[in-house]
Point group: none
Chain length 418, copies 2
C-alpha cells in the first residue's frame, strides 16, 4: 500500500513551524508496512489544496492530510473536502456531544463556531476527537482511502494511535511482504573509512538496503530489508547486523536511536560506577548530557568547569608549571585535570577535557578545533588528542561526543587509540 502525506499550512512553508506531523505519521505508517512514497506541504490556499488532493489520490492508495480543520476563518480544509468530493456538510450528533462535553469539562462557554465543528462531509466516517474539538475524517472511494486530521500534534497523534493505525492494520492484514529497519549508531570513524571497512556492500547486503547518515555525533547506518514474512525479515536483519558488527562493531554504540549519554548512563548504573567531570572548552555540555537522564545523581557526583587557569590550579590542583610549560590546552593538563577532579570527588572515574573551540583563539601549533580528553580510574590516567573543525557549537558537540565515547570504550575495554 502506497501512501502520501499532505500537511497544510503557511506557517510550515515559511519555517515558523517545523513539520513534526509528517515525521510522526511517516513513522507510524512505516511501522505497519505502509510505504510512504512522498510527503508535501501546501499553503492555506483552496486551489493549491484541491490540486494536491487530486494528484496524490490519483497516484496513491492512501492519502493522509493534516491541518486547517480548526474553527477560525483561516481553516479551509473542510470546505476543500466538500468541493473535492462534490458533497455537503451534515450535522453529526456524536461530534456535537463531544464538542459540548469538551467545553463543559473546561467550564468554558460554547460558541456557534465551536458547534459548527459538528458539521462533517456527508459520506465521511468521523474520527472522534477526545482532546480537541475538530473531528477527523475518513473517506473511502474506489479502493482509495482519504484521511484528514487536525494539525494540532497531540490531537493528530491520539487519532493516529487510537483509531487510524488500528483501522489501517485491519485493511492490510494479508500482505505478502514485510519491511524491517535497523539503525546502528557509530562514532569516532569517518563516513568514508566506515564505507571502506565494510568492504563489498552488495555482498554484505545481498538485496537489503544500507544508508549512511552522518551528523556531528557520528554516522548512523540504517539497514532496510524487505522479506516475505516478519521472521525472514528479522533473520535477514540480524544476519546483516552480525556481518557489520564483525567489521566495525567497536564503533557501534547503540541500536535504534539511543544517544551515547544514555548508553553510558545505563552502563554506569548497572556497574555502580561513579564519575566526576572537569570541563574547559565544552563549558558544561558533557555534564549537561550526563545529567539529562533521570537518576543521574546515582553515577554523576560533581563537575567543575575550569574555564580560567586559576580555576584549574585552585580547584583541580593542576600544576602552574605544567600550564606555563605546555599551555592550558595540552595532553598533560587534560591528564592532571582528570586526576584532580577524580581525587577531590572520590569517584571511580575522572573525565576531563581542554581545547580550543574557536572560531578565535587558535594558533599554528594549536589550531581551532584541537582538544585533549583525559580519563582516570584508580590505576591509570590516559589522555587522547582530537582535531575537530572551525564551528564553535559543532566543535563543542563533537568534543562532548568524543569524550563520552572515551568512557564507553573504557567501560567495554576497547582500545582508545583507534
Amino acid at each position: 500500500m502506497n501512501a502520501h502525506i499532505i500537511t497544510i499550512g503557511d506557517e510550515i512553508l515559511i519555517g515558523q513551524t517545523i513539520n513534526t506531523n509528517a515525521a510522526f505519521i511517516g513513522e507510524k505508517l512505516s511501522g505497519i508496512q505502509i510505504n510512504v512514497r512522498k510527503t508535501s506541504t501546501v499553503p492555506d490556499d483552496e486551489e493549491e489544496i484541491l490540486r494536491e488532493f487530486k494528484t496524490c489520490l490519483n497516484e496513491n492508495d492512501l492519502v493522509i492530510v493534516t491541518g486547517g480543520l480548526g474553527p477560525t476563518h483561516d481553516d479551509i480544509t473542510r470546505t476543500c473536502i466538500v468541493k473535492f468530493f462534490h458533497t455537503e456538510l451534515v450535522r453529526n450528533d456524536e461530534v456535537l456531544d463531544d464538542v459540548r462535553n469538551f467545553f463543559n469539562k473546561r467550564a468554558r462557554k460554547i460558541t456557534k463556531i465551536n458547534e459548527d465543528q459538528a458539521l462533517v462531509p456527508k459520506e465521511a466516517n468521523v474520527i472522534r476527537n477526545k482532546i480537541g474539538t475538530a473531528p477527523g475524517v475518513w473517506i473511502e472511494k474506489e479502493d482509495k482511502i482519504f484521511i484528514v486530521m487536525p494539525g494540532v500534534p497531540f490531537e493528530m497523534q491520539a487519532m493516529m494511535n487510537n483509531s487510524i493505525i488500528p483501522k489501517l492494520q485491519e485493511k492490510i492484514k494479508n500482505k505478502d511482504f514485510f519491511v524491517k529497519r535497523s539503525n546502528l549508531l557509530t562514532t569516532g570513524i569517518p563516513e568514508s573509512t566506515l564505507f571502506e571497512r565494510l568492504g563489498n556492500i552488495d555482498e554484505l547486503l545481498n538485496g537489503a538496503k544500507l544508508a549512511f547518515l552522518p551528523s556531528q555525533f557520528g554516522v548512523k547506518l540504517r539497514v532496510t530489508v524487505n522479506e516475505k514474512s516478519e521472521e525472514l525479515a528479522n533473520n535477514k536483519i540480524s544476519e546483516i547486523e552480525q556481518k557489520i558488527r564483525g567489521k566495525v562493531g567497536r564503533f557501534i554504540y547503540s541500536k535504534q536511536d539511543e544517544p551515547l549519554e544514555n548508553v553510558i548512563a545505563r552502563m554506569l548504573l548497572e556497574r555502580g560506577i561513579t564519575i566526576a567531570v572537569a570541563e574547559s572548552c565544552t563549558g558544561g555540555l558533557i555534564s549537561n548530557l550526563l545529567t539529562n537522564i533521570s537518576g543521574s545523581s546515582k553515577y554523576y557526583e560533581r563537575g567543575v568547569i575550569s574555564y580560567s587557569n586559576a580555576s584549574k590550579v585552585e580547584i583541580l590542583k593542576v600544576s602552574e608549571d605544567t600550564i606555563s610549560q605546555n599551555g592550558a590546552v595540552s595532553l598533560e593538563v587534560a591528564r592532571q585535570m582528570a586526576e584532580g577532579i577524580k581525587s577531590i570527588s572520590g569517584t571511580d572515574l575522572g573525565l576531563a577535557i581542554t581545547g580550543i573551540m574557536g572560531p578565535t583563539g587558535g594558533s599554528s601549533e594549536k589550531p581551532v578545533g584541537l582538544a585533549y580528553v583525559g580519563l582516570c580510574d584508580d590505576k591509570v590516567c590516559t589522555a587522547k588528542k582530537f582535531q575537530f573543525g572551525d564551528d564553535r557549537s559543532l566543535n563543542k558537540q563533537r568534543a562532548a561526543q568524543a569524550a563520552l565515547e572515551m568512557i564507553r570504550r573504557y567501560l567495554l575495554g576497547i582500545p582508545l587509540d583507534e
Copy 2:
C-alpha cells in the same frame, strides 16, 4: 519569485529524521520576499527524484534541493542532476582543494571516494563547502534557478547564509510589495497575561498580523506587515514595536531570534562584568549556554556543578546545617551557593541554581519542577523561587532560561519579582 523546496531521503519519509531543512530554507527564503509555494520530500529513488525535478522546475522560478550528495552508494542526487540536465561530471580543482584541506586539517587519510566529491555537473556553478566535503550546485536555465545542497543541516545552513541568500537577493532587487516580519522574544510572562497586557489587538496592529508563539524559552511575538515599500514596512513595524514595548517592554529580551545567553554575553562584555556559576539541577546547562559565545572566557570565569551535597559543602562552602535544616533544594542553599561560587572565583557576579527536575525525586512540599535561583554581587544576594512542570529536559531548559533572565534583569535594574 515562486519557490519549491525538495528534500530527498527515505529517513525523512519514514519519520526517522524530522525535516528541519525545509523549515530552515523556507524561513530564509520568506525573509527575502521569495514565496515558498510548496515543499515535498521524495525517497532515495532515481525515478521519483527525476519526476519531482521536472514537475517543480516547470511550476516554479526557483527549486532548492537538499540531500543525497554524500560520497557513499546511497547518495544518488548528483547522478540525477547529470541525467536531468543531460550533462556530465567534470573535476573542479577548487573543490578538490577544499576536500584535501578538509582532510589535512583533521589529519585524516583522504580516499578516492572523497576526492570524487570534486566531480561536479558541467554547467553548474559550484557552491563551496567549508565545513564538509560535498559541494553545492547552482544551475540557471531558461530564467529558472536550480540549487542543490547537502542534507547535513549545518553544511546546508552555512551555504544558505554565506552564498545562496546573498546571490538570490541580487536576483530579486526590484519588487512592488514588501513583507517584513519582526520577532520580539519575551520570557517570564505567560501567553495569556501577555495577551491581556497588550489590550486591544486590532487597534495595536491596525492591519498588521501578530502571532503568539509559546515555547519553553518564553513567548515569541511575531509581527508581520505587508507594505508597498521597504521603507513603509519598516516604519509600520517599528511603530507597532514601540506600542508593544510600551506595554510589555521589560519582558522582551531580544529582537529577531537572538537567544537570551547572547544578549547577556553582550551586556557582560560591554560592561566588563565577570560571572561564575554554581549549578545543581541544571547539571551544566547554564554554563554551556554562557560559553556558547566566542570570547566567553572574557566574562565567564568558572563553574561548579555541585550535584552531590558533599560538593556543595566542600567546594562552595555551603553550611551542612543549612542543608540539613532546609534541604539542598531551598532558597537559603541557592543563596549560599551563589555566595560560595562568587567568593572562590573572585568574579563580580555569582549565579546559582538548585532544584528538582524530575520526573522522580519530588515530594508534597517540594514537588517536581521546583527550583531556586540565587544571584550575588559585591553588595546583595537575592534568591527567587520558580515552579516548572513535570518534563525533565523541558524543566532544565526552563530553569536555565529563568536563571539567565535573572542576570538580564539584574543588569538592567528590572525588579526580579514581577
